[in-house]
Assembly symmetry: C2
Homo-oligomer: 213 residues x 2
DNA sequence: ATACATAAAAATGTCAAAATTTTTGGATGT
DNA sequence: ACATCCAAAAATTTTGACATTTTTATGTAT
């Protein structure tokens, strides 16, 4: 049986939350995870407190932990907030960032694009989805990475994680044109960013997310 | 000797961080706080993990806790990010909120205004500063409270706390006209908000913070 | 002096058990 | 049927001891 280091417990729970293996809103009981990870309840508690920092887990004194709740309102809320942060981050990057930002962004998009092509060609396995998910984050993260605001980047990371958590369970109807749209939207964002067109980029970001409002 | 409940430990540390009694960037060792609060190191650790959620404390595996670092760049960063969130929150409130928001905002401003008058009349004691600090938060919090975005309000709370933490140690040169300016700025924000003038309100928020950029 | 290795000390992390609190489920009475 | 109370069970929090890791201090060689 696999043994887990504390960091592995963290990553494993992170993934389970992001992918709604632990469903949004459900209670998380240290005792139940103890046997799986082969550690004390205290270590689990510790890890859950750390996950609560990024908002994937909510914590209330004396009543433990839950995967963050979801609802149509909360999903819209998170999506809009994500737009706000990403628009600002992208706009600042466009204004201030240099060549290395462009390269980072281009690279990230290239990787993402590669995976997206694979996904339309072959079906979309769970494993593909996992790789895509992280490539998608890296693209959006690269987009704002030139903004020169650590706190914005940090916060965006949390919000992106929450976004995934809230939507992954919903969007099980990936129609064949779903990914085609997404691919196009990513390309549009990239184009506007590299053209240093602030308003076009903001619009593209908005359009990319608007199905989730 | 006073005994502390866990919640009191949390509040006490919170205040010490906000008021830079624990200076920004300094190491926080559970063992050293143990005797003061009369509990085990583990309880302190637990509390510090909870404080790391709001960003007052940073945590790194195997190397413990620190009060969040500060520097001129970080202060400017936090200040600008605060403006972004507050402008958005205020604009949304102006657009969507109803009468109860106006009342909440008015009430909060009234309280704040009262304290600010006291502070200009008499000197400014540490105790006054504490009361003012919380009244100031309540005013800004009320301003965005009609935005209908839980995640924005939650995040703003964290950022406001970090803002206090980063600036309180710096601004020990409260000139006599410092508070006069602040009072005027608050009034300007209130006025614009109640007049439902989005752009004027955004501008007022920006001006309120621009000394910190 | 500087760099490096090593031992001692301090700090951090993990654990299992005990204490506390909340939740559950059934009995009682209205 | 419904609410209330109570006891048992479950979950959470706290503790103190122990294990691990990092930091500090010391000594040695270049």
């Amino acid at each position: 049986m696999k043994t887990y280091s504390t960091n592995e417990i963290y990553s494993d729970l992170y993934e389970q939350l992001i992918n709604a293996v632990i469903p949004a809103g459900s209670k998380i009981k240290p005792v139940e995870l103890q046997s799986k990870y082969g550690c004390s309840t205290n270590t689990i508690r510790d890890t859950l407190l750390r996950l609560s920092k990024i908002g994937l887990v909510t914590f209330q004194m004396q009543r433990g932990f839950r995967a963050r709740e979801t609802s149509p309102e909360k999903r819209a809320d998170i999506a809009k907030f994500r737009v706000l942060l990403e628009q600002e981050g992208a706009a600042l990057s466009i204004r201030k960032a240099g060549l290395d930002w462009e390269i980072r962004l281009n690279t990230a998009h290239h990787k993402l694009s590669h995976i997206e092509k694979l996904m339309t060609k072959h079906g979309l396995t769970d494993e593909h989805l996992l790789v895509w998910s992280s490539a998608e984050f890296e693209f959006h993260d690269a987009l704002i990475s030139g903004c020169a605001s650590d706190i914005l980047i940090e916060t965006y990371g949390h919000i992106y994680a929450q976004f995934r958590q809230q939507f992954v369970a919903q969007e099980r109807d990936f129609g064949s044109n779903y990914f085609e749209s997404i691919i196009h939207e990513h390309a549009t964002i990239l184009q506007a960013a590299l053209a240093r067109n602030e308003e076009a980029c903001k619009l593209a970001i908005h359009d990319h997310m608007k199905r989730n409002f």
